[in-house]
């Protein structure tokens, strides 16, 4: 890695010059984030539990990646560990996370930063200006004794030192407008705002420094359905306008279909299915994905019987031999109980799944509900037009 490309703001321009000289090879990069064979444990030694198991994923610029799974599937652990924000006893036990950050003024040049090896100082400079995060409960994420405006000023003051006080204020007002809030909210304390307003403020705050990547951990789960809808629509609009990449974590697949370009489904710490959003939703390949889809009513379209998934999420400390979903899987075969399937591409398609029904013996007959073909008509672009 290039040594410390992110000195202070004051010298950043100069550093950019140097970077170009040192690393001419870092040409235009289509991926903003690359995660390779990433492992995360809770604790070490005998009591160690593997919470994220060998996860590999790539995120293109300006794309939305949905991460779905039940609680305990490791989806939150994954993103917190990726950004090195995971609390003790979490430990990263292998793999790489590379963030390709764009240099100021020239979006063709990128600098790869390995977050796993980055120092505290480097992380501090990347955080928020390149990666920002929105948590499930904005009430807990905002400091209860500070006025909302303070949070904006603080972020701008730390990362954009050249701004004057009035410029910071102007930017804060602009950000609030972006999420449809009046500037008088800046003078309020978090407890004086509604849940939807608080979450909008968190989103505005996350976009304050124009980051390449925004991570949202169940940002709408604590909200009512109407507010949830409004926020998803706003996010779609903001994303097409500002072009940030988004990782959106939720247990609600029907929500992701409105927003995501690509979806990965996690179970017991591993990715078990990855596909384009509409493909995955309309033609799931993994029995667990199918179960997830049947657990939530769709935001659009016909009503459907909700069946859910039998059994409860697995105990990570005592995962079964073979496929970890096998004990809950209605299609489990003998092979599933002692041999774990790998995440493989299905045929020559772009989607992958970790399930013996698809990647094992060709003699296995795949059930109808897991072999549907997807129609290309319901891409999220159409959905967007519905609201605008």
């Amino acid at each position: 890695m290039i040594a410390d490309p992110l000195k202070t703001q004051a010298t950043s321009k100069m550093m950019d010059m140097q970077l170009r000289e040192v690393a001419p090879a870092s040409a235009h990069h289509e991926f903003v984030l690359e995660v390779n064979n990433f492992n995360v444990d809770y604790g070490v030694g005998e009591n160690m539990v593997r919470a994220v198991n060998d996860v590999t994923l790539k995120l293109r610029r300006s794309q939305v990646l949905g991460v779905a799974g039940e609680s305990g599937s490791g989806k939150s652990t994954l993103v917190y560990a990726m950004t090195r924000l995971l609390r003790a006893p979490g430990v990263i036990s292998g793999g790489d996370v590379t963030l390709n950050i764009t240099n100021d003024g020239d979006s063709d040049e990128v600098t790869p930063i390995n977050l796993v090896t980055a120092s505290e100082k480097e992380l501090r400079q990347i955080r928020w200006s390149h990666v920002s995060i929105v948590l499930q409960s904005a009430l807990n994420a905002l400091n209860p004794v500070l006025r909302v405006g303070r949070e904006f000023h603080e972020v701008l003051k730390t990362h954009r030192r050249e701004l004057t006080k009035s410029q910071r204020h102007a930017r804060s007002v602009e950000l609030l407008k972006m999420v449809g809030l009046n500037e008088d909210r800046l003078a309020r304390f978090p407890h004086e705002l509604s849940g939807g307003q608080r979450q909008r403020i968190m989103i505005a705050l996350a976009l304050a420094l124009d980051p390449e990547l925004v991570i949202m951990d169940e940002p709408t789960t604590a909200l009512d359905v109407v507010t949830q809808r409004e926020i998803i629509n706003e996010l779609n609009e903001l994303r097409s306008r500002y072009g940030f990449a988004l990782i959106f974590i939720t247990h609600d697949l029907s929500l992701l279909i409105e927003l995501a370009d690509e979806i990965v489904v996690m179970y017991a710490g591993a990715i078990i299915e990855r596909a384009g959003a509409s493909e995955l939703y309309e033609a799931p390949r993994h029995p667990y994905t199918l179960g997830l889809i049947n657990s939530f009513p769709p935001m659009h379209g016909d009503r459907r019987e909700l069946t859910g998934i039998p059994g409860s999420p697995p105990d990570l400390a005592e995962l079964p031999e073979g496929c970890s979903f096998a004990p809950r899987c209605p299609y489990a075969m003998a092979r599933c109980l002692h041999e774990a399937p790998a995440l493989l591409n299905i045929g020559d398609s772009d989607r992958s799944v970790a399930c013996w029904l698809h990647t094992g013996d060709s003699s296995v007959t795949v059930p109808v509900e897991l072999s549907r073909s997807s129609s290309p008509s319901r891409a999220h672009v159409t959905v967007l037009q519905d609201h605008t």
Partner: protein, 322 residues
């Protein structure tokens, strides 16, 4: 019901050992004492020696005997006061938290009033009016101390009860028609055990301080030996300024040690009540072995590297490199 299992940290173990030691001293101290603590048979102001481990007072009393005998009065009064205060705070706290409404308003007012009045000055006033024979009575002194030390526990227990009262099992007991008092003491109280234990230790700690203070200013009977009376006589005879450290340092250290022991045990209970206070997952040894930092910083999730594990260098390789 959650059982009270203390986290086995060194702090708690040391605390339990200290408290255990002094409880044993309370029970057998008076029998172990080599002399009668009030006997003035010896030469005054002897320095520590094999005969008098801690020397003698200006009246020729054996200080070591006073220390051993004094443990009993100090500890018994403190335990009595702690027990009485805990019962009082439990009754008031649980009742206020469980009943709510006007009963809560009234009981909370009473405990807040007692909380706001400075305890030791009130004790001094009450005690100064007591007839001398009551001042030597453990029960009377213990009860008066408990009167000034129960309010804090009541406040904590009230808050805890309020968070419990709407839980399912309490609701269930209410629906099947259990009596209120029965629900309070059989369903709610057991779940308050950690908080109760903590409040008990805290009150015992306070009671030792209060009792010793009363004795130190001469408000308990001088006929009863306790660590405070020892300090009173030492002070009255100017022991500190004449360099007779062996007269006033041992009782002071004993008081501080009992207090430290109780506070250390309380650390364990605090960690039990508030899981965030527990050290996260990794023991110091594991961290060292894995090359993880001693202190895990927020926002810097540690990374285990295969290369950071201790490498085993073959013996011959070492020779070659030398």
């Amino acid at each position: 019901m959650r059982s009270l299992r203390l986290p086995r940290s060194p702090k708690v173990i040391i605390g339990l050992v200290i408290v255990g030691f002094f409880i044993i001293m309370t029970v057998i101290g008076p029998w172990l004492a080599p002399y009668d603590p009030s006997s003035t048979a010896f030469a005054p102001l002897l320095s520590p020696s094999a005969h008098h481990w801690l020397g003698t007072t200006s009246l020729g009393q054996d200080i070591f005997s006073q220390l051993l005998v004094g443990a009993r009065a100090t500890m018994v009064v403190a335990l009595l006061a702690g027990l009485a205060a805990t019962i009082l705070s439990m009754t008031v706290g649980i009742a206020a938290g469980y009943l709510g409404g006007w009963s809560d308003e009234g009981l909370s007012l009473v405990s807040n009033v007692f909380l706001a009045i400075p305890g030791v000055p009130l004790l001094i006033v009450i005690d100064s009016y007591l007839p001398v024979n009551s001042r030597s009575n453990f029960f009377v002194i213990g009860l008066i101390i408990s009167l000034t030390g129960w309010a804090w526990g009541a406040r904590v227990l009230r808050a805890q009860t309020m968070s419990l009262r709407n839980r399912d099992f309490v609701e269930a007991a209410r629906i099947i028609g259990e009596k209120r008092t029965r629900i309070m003491f059989t369903e709610v109280a057991p779940n308050l055990l950690p908080v109760l234990a903590s409040s008990f230790l805290f009150t015992v700690l306070y009671s030792i301080g209060a009792y010793v203070t009363l004795a130190y200013i001469g408000l308990t009977s001088t006929a009863v030996w306790n660590w405070g009376t020892m300090l009173y006589w030492a002070q009255a005879n100017n022991a500190p300024l004449s360099g007779e450290w062996y007269w006033f340092v041992p009782p002071g250290i004993c008081i501080a040690l009992v207090g430290t022991g109780l506070a250390l045990v309380n650390f364990g209970i605090d960690e039990f009540i508030n899981p965030r206070l527990r050290a996260g997952g990794l023991t110091a040894r594991q961290r060292r072995q894995l090359g993880l930092p001693r202190r895990i910083r927020l926002g810097l999730t540690p990374v285990l590297h295969a290369s950071s594990k201790p490498k085993i260098v073959p013996a011959h390789a070492k020779l070659v490199s030398q």
